[in-house]
Amino acid sequence: MATYVEIASVTVGSGGSAYVEFTSIPNTYTDLLVKFSARSARTNDAGGSDGKLEFNGVTTGYSSRMLLQQGGAYSGTSSTLFYFVNSNNSTSNTFGNMEVYIPNYAGSGYKSVSIDAVDENNASSAYGVLTAGLWSNTAAITSLRLTDNNGGYMQYTTAYLYGIKKD
C-alpha cells in the first residue's frame, strides 16, 4: 500500500504572488502529488484564469492534450501544462481546485503529468479541464512551479506537495 507524505505546503499572503514554486524536491519518493486551491487576481474573465505548470525552471519541452468544459465540452492541445483556477470576478470567496499527479518524477525517462482542475464558479461560465501532459525531458524533477498567466494568485491560495512512496 502506498504512503503519502507531505513534503511542503504554502499559503499565499496578503500581497499575492505571481507564482508558487517548490524547490529542492527530494528524489526519495516514487511519485509526486500536488493539491492546489487557488484564486487569481484576474478580473476580465469570470470563467477563470489560466495557469501553467513547469519543472526545474525550464520553459520548453511541454505538450498536453486537454478535455475542457465550459458550457459545452471541447478538446485541444497546448505547448504548456495547462489548467484553470477561479478568477477574481467569479463567485466571491471561492477558490478553484486542482490536483496534479506526476509518476516517476525522479526517473530518467520523459515525465507524464495528469492535471484535473476546476474553476468553482456559481454561474454559467466556469471551466473544468482534464490535461494529459508530457515533459519531454529526462532530468529528475527537483522543482515545480505553478504560475498564473494573469494577475497572480490571491491571498489564501494554498499549495500542498506530497511524495508518494510505494511500500
Binding site: 505546503s9 504572488s17 514554486e21 498567466n149 506537495l161
Partner: protein, 72 residues
C-alpha cells in the same frame, strides 16, 4: 498584478517571498499577450462557425430548434 513570487525550499521548509526578476516580468507580459491573442482567435472562429451554421439553416428554411429536432 503581483510582482512577487513565493519559493518554498523543500529541504529546509523555508518559505521566501521574492521580487520577480525583470526577465520574469517580461515573460509574464508575453504569456498574457499570447493567451489574449489565442482567445481572440478562438472567439473569431466561434463567431464564424455560428454564422456558417445560420447560413445553412437559412438556406434550408429551418430554425435552430427544428434542426435540433431532426438531428435528435
Amino acid at each position: 498584478m503581483a510582482d512577487t513570487k513565493i519559493v518554498v525550499d523543500c529541504s529546509t521548509g523555508e518559505v521566501q517571498e521574492l521580487e520577480l526578476t525583470a526577465e520574469e516580468v517580461a515573460q509574464r507580459v508575453a504569456d498574457a499577450q499570447a493567451y489574449a491573442a489565442a482567445k481572440a482567435q478562438e472567439e473569431e472562429e466561434a463567431v464564424a462557425k455560428a454564422e456558417a451554421k445560420q447560413a445553412v439553416l437559412d438556406r434550408l428554411g429551418l430554425s435552430a430548434e427544428e434542426a435540433a429536432l431532426l438531428l435528435g
